[in-house]
């Protein structure tokens, strides 16, 4: 294969992986705090429609990004009020957030269907970006790509090297112990949930401002769920999420290229590959029960009601 082609494939893999990475990184923080938010898909699709709308209405893709993030945060706060303030079942509430998000985004985005979007353009560092091969890979991608990598580094550092991260992990490990020490469990979880919402919204905005630059109903197509699976796959560790996201990005792009080359397999089977791959990966990672038990935040999914 020609180097140019390889570079193009690698670039598309990065583009396909970035939204998964961002959304999964947000959910990782949420789950580390002991909250299971199954509404990633819903927050992501809200982020996508807000991102598209914000950019289309203002003409500035960065305002679109901001709108996407705000949309995700708002959606996540709805989840937060229910699960954290009035202690509803997290699984059911997350599901309803996804259903509501898909509905709301469909309604909001009705007038955007078929409209041309605004693209968040790639960074251009002049001569650096023009370097052969590595120029475009390292210095010529879209800004959210760099933000996603920065996100991994920052989350990893905060989680394991700072007091804030220590408190977050403590809350996820035992909310009762944390409460007894006087740590405000609910506040910390609100912050984590909102961060997860911001990330999901950002990931959605990436879909409608970088990945496709248009609005299609249900355009997340299960990516929110794959992001959830990635967190399990990565055993709640940031750098492993990075690896997992790129693995999935690779599968997605691989099957697209296979379809383009007219491989003699039904295109539907190729399209099903990312979903099948998710199942296979989940099976592989979960079969070691010991490992899963050791890594799972002990309070994951359990409601907490402070008792004063």
């Amino acid at each position: 294969m020609e180097p140019e082609l390889i570079v193009n494939v690698l670039l598309t893999i990065a583009t396909a992986s970035t939204p998964l990475l961002i959304a999964a990184m947000g959910e990782l923080v949420v789950e580390r705090s002991g909250v299971l938010n199954l509404g990633v898909e819903g927050m992501m699709v809200v982020g996508a429609v807000c991102g598209f709308g914000g950019a289309a209405l203002s003409g500035n893709p960065w305002l679109g990004v901001l709108a996407g993030v705000c949309g995700g945060v708002l959606a996540s706060l709805l989840f937060g009020v229910l699960t954290l303030s009035i202690a509803t079942n997290q699984v059911a509430t997350g599901l309803s957030l996804t259903l509501l998000g898909l509905g709301v985004s469909g309604l909001l985005g009705e007038s955007f269907v078929g409209q041309a979007g605004t693209k968040l353009s790639a960074v251009d560092l002049g001569p650096l970006s023009d370097l052969p091969i590595i120029g475009r890979l390292l210095f010529g991608q879209d800004p959210l790509f760099y933000i996603s990598l920065l996100l991994v580094a920052v989350v990893s550092w905060v989680l394991f090297r700072t007091r804030a991260g220590l408190i977050l992990r403590a809350v996820g490990d035992s909310h009762d112990s944390a409460h007894a020490l006087g740590i405000s469990v609910v506040k910390i979880r609100y912050a984590a949930v909102a961060f997860g919402g911001a990330c999901a919204g950002l990931a959605g905005a990436h879909l409608s401002l970088v990945y496709t630059t248009q609005w299609v109903e249900n355009m997340t197509a299960g990516r929110g769920w794959i992001a959830l699976a990635l967190v399990v796959f990565a055993s709640w560790r940031p750098w492993r999420v990075l690896a997992g996201a790129y693995l999935f990005g690779g599968v997605t792009i691989g099957q697209l290229h296979a379809q383009a080359f007219g491989v003699a397999v039904p295109s539907q089977l190729l399209s099903a590959l990312p979903y099948l791959a998710t199942i296979v990966v989940l099976v592989l990672i979960s079969r070691n029960r010991r490992l899963t038990l050791l890594n799972t935040p002990a309070c994951l999914g359990q409601p907490f009601v402070p008792h004063r």
């Binding site: 007091r163 220590l166 408190i167 992990r169 403590a170 490990d173 035992s174 009762d176 112990s177 944390a178 409460h179 007894a180 020490l181 006087g182 740590i183 029960r289 010991r290 038990l293 050791l294 935040p297 002990a298 004063r308």
Partner: protein, 518 residues
């Protein structure tokens, strides 16, 4: 301690705290002087935990005043309490299992220094007060004794003037407890005050300068424990003098109804204990007591005996003549066995379900009462009848048989669970922690019922952390340590000291020595 300083360190006046359905503390007052070990005595449910949570800012009093060095203060949060100089070691530790000892310590400090400094200071303190600990160890891997040391060190790092310990010895061997007392005495001589919560009279007499006794949420007396007798303290605590457990002589050797031979079981999860080479015999007419510090494999042994966990080799467990190592819990019940697990809520009973449904829990397949028809239909009428019968027989206090199990007090629910099994007249009964967290009246009733069952010809195995209880009711006693079970010794020959050595692993090290010699 005779010349008390004029200003007490802590003074509580008229504290009151109500929860839905109960008045946990009512008009509670007490005084603690600097450099004093003050006991807070009371039964389970007397309101001790509620009171100390108010002193530590976890709960807020509904009424009353807290004075600190004579000044009235508000304690809106544990943080505020720590800032004043109150430190607390919880009964159920407030530690994080997935974090290291040093991280746990850092979390409790409001302005934690860098990790290295912290580790260094923790090490200094632990040496000074004889509390060895490894700052980098993951708490989930540590024994309860080690965890308690972390709790104490992390309190001491805040240089508290008042240290609160909630039932600290309930998880320790007698030897570990003695070591703890030395640490506490050292702290007292450094001028610190200690509020020591317990229902164990002998250690209060051994250690404490003054005592406040709570009963039913109210203060029923202040005294100097050293000047009181154990029985006068007990009467103060319980309200009336309780009869002893009647314990006549057991038959010398009955038929072996439960036999465990060379039982081995690998650890099922990262946090559980493996069982190795366990042997035991449950004999008709006798009670076998199994002592040990929590987390040494008692829960795992119970699961294996009950059949909730199955074994590789069916021959490891023989129940009433059948090899049952691979048979489930209902098959074992059908052979005449009954089981009472340690955890009442969520294991022995479903808290959200009614007592009627909870009767069915262990009896839907196991007995002749015919609670379920051949088609799988539940016979509600019969079930309700049986439930009311159990409630009446064991004097379970509840509004009616439809009340949710979770709404009962610990003692009443335990009486119900034990009654549910006793009603079947089991030939073999295995009970884990029969009176844990149960008030004295209910505990007495339960112990008597177990002795009675054994004397009627059944084999009873009692797993307990409460040495006094085991010495009271057992005929033979074995000790669990690190997944091993010691050979049984007759209860008359056992003493707290000899059992304590075994609980700390003395036999194991002796075995190792013997092994090396060969």
């Amino acid at each position: 301690m005779s010349d008390a300083p004029s200003v007490p360190l802590l003074e509580l006046e008229g504290l009151r705290k109500a929860f839905p359905g109960t008045l946990a503390n009512d008009d509670v007052s007490l005084l603690i002087q600097p450099g004093e070990i003050h006991a807070l005595l009371g039964e389970n449910g007397a309101g001790k935990s509620t009171l100390v949570k108010m002193i530590y800012g976890v709960l807020r009093p509904d009424a009353g005043t807290i004075r600190w060095h004579g000044e009235p203060i508000e304690l809106p949060s544990p943080r505020a309490a720590r800032r004043r100089g109150v430190g607390m070691v919880f009964q159920h530790f407030s530690l994080f299992e997935a974090l290291t000892a040093a991280e746990n310590i850092a979390l409790s400090l409001d302005d934690a220094p860098p990790m290295d400094t912290l580790t260094e200071r923790a090490r200094e303190l632990s040496e000074r007060y004889g509390l060895p600990l490894d700052p980098h160890a993951m708490v989930g891997d540590l024994s309860v004794g080690e965890r308690q040391r972390i709790e104490i060190v992390r309190c001491l790092l805040q240089e508290p003037e008042l240290l609160i310990l909630d039932e600290p010895t309930s998880v320790l061997t007698p030897q570990e407890a003695e070591q703890l007392f030395k640490t506490l005495e050292q702290l007292r001589s450094d001028g610190k005050s200690i509020l020591y919560i317990s229902h164990r009279l002998n250690e209060v007499q051994r250690l404490c300068d003054n005592a406040t006794v709570l009963r039913g949420g109210k203060v029923v007396g202040h005294c100097k424990p050293a000047r009181e007798s154990a029985s006068s303290l007990a009467t103060l605590m319980v309200g009336s003098e309780l009869p002893e457990v009647s314990h006549d002589d057991a038959p010398e050797s009955g038929a072996v109804l439960l036999e465990v031979r060379d039982l081995n079981r690998p650890a099922a999860t990262p946090f559980s204990m493996a069982l190795s080479n366990v042997n035991l015999e449950g004999k008709a007419g006798r009670i076998l007591g199994i002592a040990g510090v929590a987390g040494n494999g008692q829960g795992e042994l119970f699961e294996v005996l009950s059949g909730e966990a199955l074994l590789q080799q069916p021959e490891s467990i023989k129940l009433c003549g059948s090899l049952v190592g691979q048979q489930g819990i209902n098959a074992r019940r059908a052979l005449g066995a009954a089981f009472v697990p340690e955890e009442r809520l969520g294991h022995g009973a479903v808290p959200s379900m009614s007592l009627v449904d909870n009767t069915l829990l262990s009896r839907h397949r196991s007995d002749s009462a015919g609670l379920v028809g051949a088609s799988g239909r539940i016979r509600r009428g019969k079930l309700r009848e049986l439930t009311t019968h159990i409630i009446k027989t064991l004097d379970v206090r509840c509004s009616n048989e439809q009340q949710a199990a979770g709404a009962l007090s610990g003692g009443n629910l335990q009486k119900f669970i034990i009654g549910r099994e006793l009603d079947r007249k089991p030939r073999v009964m295995v009970v884990n922690q029969p009176t844990w967290g149960v008030d004295a009246g209910a505990a007495l009733r339960i112990r008597n019922a177990l002795v009675e069952l054994a004397r009627s010809g059944s084999a009873v195995v009692v797993i307990s952390q409460d040495l006094e209880e085991l010495l009271q009711i057992s005929d033979d006693i074995s000790v669990m340590h690190n997944g091993n079970l010691s050979a049984p010794m007759p209860a008359q020959q056992a003493s707290p000291e000899s059992l304590g050595l075994l609980m700390g692993g003395a036999e194991e090290s002796r075995d190792q020595l013997a092994g090396e010699k060969h």
